[in-house]
Symmetry: C2
Subunit: 274 residues, 2 copies
Amino acid sequence: MIEREELIEIVTREVLAVLAGEHQDLEHAGRAVESGAARLGYSGRGEDVPEALGQYIDHTMLKPTATPAEIDTLCDEALKYHFAAVCINPAWVSRAARRLRGTPVRVASVVGFPLGANTPQIKAMETRQALRDGAREIDMVINIGALKGGELDLVQKDIAGVSDACREVGALNKVIIEAAYLTDEEKVIACRLAKEAKAHFVKTSTGFGPGGATVFDVALMREVVGEKMGVKAAGGIHSAEEVRQMITAGASRIGASAGVRIVSGTEGEADAAY
Amino acid sequence: MIEREELIEIVTREVLAVLAGEHQDLEHAGRAVESGAARLGYSGRGEDVPEALGQYIDHTMLKPTATPAEIDTLCDEALKYHFAAVCINPAWVSRAARRLRGTPVRVASVVGFPLGANTPQIKAMETRQALRDGAREIDMVINIGALKGGELDLVQKDIAGVSDACREVGALNKVIIEAAYLTDEEKVIACRLAKEAKAHFVKTSTGFGPGGATVFDVALMREVVGEKMGVKAAGGIHSAEEVRQMITAGASRIGASAGVRIVSGTEGEADAAY
C-alpha cells in the first residue's frame, strides 16, 4: 500500500515537473495545476486530432429506463458511425454482444455503477459476468467514500479485482474516479491507485454525478498516468469541438450519449440519454 | 408469467373496487386514481399515526462520498433515536453490522442501486453477500427498462432471485419501483410483480431519480399490494408532517436522511446526505 503523504509528494513533484517541461518555468507550471492547464494552452498529447472522431467515441446509454429496443438502436448506430464501443448497463450486455458479434464495435459494460460503493467481491463478480456475456471493456467506479476516508488500500484492492478479471481475458479496465466529487489531490491519488492496480484507463465521470469532464481534469489525469494508459473523458460532452478539446488535453477515449450528433451534426435516437 | 393485458385488467378492477369501498362511488373512486387519492382525503390504513415516528424510519445515507466515519455516526444516531434500520451502500454493511450488533437497529443494504439495470444473477449475489455481512433487509431496484419494454418475466425473476435469498435467512426484500419514471399503469404492474415474486415491501423511490415519494403513489401502491405487504415511502421526506401524511396514505416504513431532524427538530450529521 502507498501511504497518502508519500503519494501526494510523488505526484506534486511529478505533475509539476512535467508541466514545467512544457512551460520552461516551474512556478508557471504550478499555477497551471492550480488554475486549469487548459487556460495555459497546455497540450497533453493530441497535437494532431484526426478528422474522424468516431473511433474515439464510446456510444453511451446508461439511463435506467433504457429498453431492449433502445439498446438495439444504440448498437446499430455504433456500427453505422464507426464508434469504438457501446457503453451500457450490465443487464443488456449479452443482448448487445449478440447484435454486434463479428463487427469491430466492442461492448463496454459498467460495474459498481454509478455510486461505486459496492463490495470488491461483487465488483469482481459483476465484471466476470459481463466478460462472460460478451463485454470486452469494463467501466468501473472507485469506492469514493473509501478514498475520502483515507482507506487507500481498499480503493486499490477494489480496482485490482476488476483489473485482474479483465486481464485474464484480454479486456480493458477503465477506472471512473468521479472527479467532480474529488479535490485535485484526491484526483491524483485515485489515478495513481488505478495505475498501481494495473488498470488500462482512468475516466473522469459517470455522467450521474454533480459534474462531467473538464479539460483541466483530463490534462491532470494524463500527467499522472503517463502515456501508456488511456484517459477517457465522459459526462456533458455534446459537440465535436468539445471532443477535440478533450483529445488535445490528453483524452484517448470519449464517452458520450450525443455521439451521432457529434460526428454527423444530426440527432441520434440515443441522444436523450445519460 | 402474468400477461401485461391481464395485469392491467385485474388491477384496474381491484384498485377501483377498493377505492369505491372507501368512497361509496365507483366513478368518484375512478377519478381518485386519476387525480391523486390524497386530494380525496383517502386514508389507506394509518388512521392512528403514533406519536413516536422513529420506529418507522430507515436512517439513510447512500451518497457515494459517505466515509466510514460518517457511516459510524449514522449507526450511532439510529440507536439514539430508535430508528428501525440504517440504510446504506453494500460496501459498508459489515462495518455497520459490527457497530450495531446486539442492538434493535437493523442494517438494510441496497442492491442493484440506483439504476436497477444489473443482471438478476448479480443482484442475487449482491444480496447474499450483504446478508452474510450482516444485513437483515435489502432494498433492491427493479429492472426499469425491462418493465418499460414489456419484459415482465425478466422483471419478476429479477425480484424473485432477491426474495428467495432473503427468505432463506428470514430477511426482508423491499422492492424499489422508482415511481417517478413510471406511468400509473407501470406502477401497478411493478407492485403486482413484486407481490408475485414474494417480496415483503414495495418502495417508491431511490432518492436518485427525478422525483421522490408522493402521497398518491403510496396510496396506489398500498391498494395494489394489500395489507399483508409493507409499503416504504422514500425520497424527499424532510418533516414529521410529511411522515404522517405518508403513513396515513398507507406507508409502513419511511426512508429518510433527515431522520434526526424529523424526530427531534434538530439537525443530524447524516442530514446532508441522501
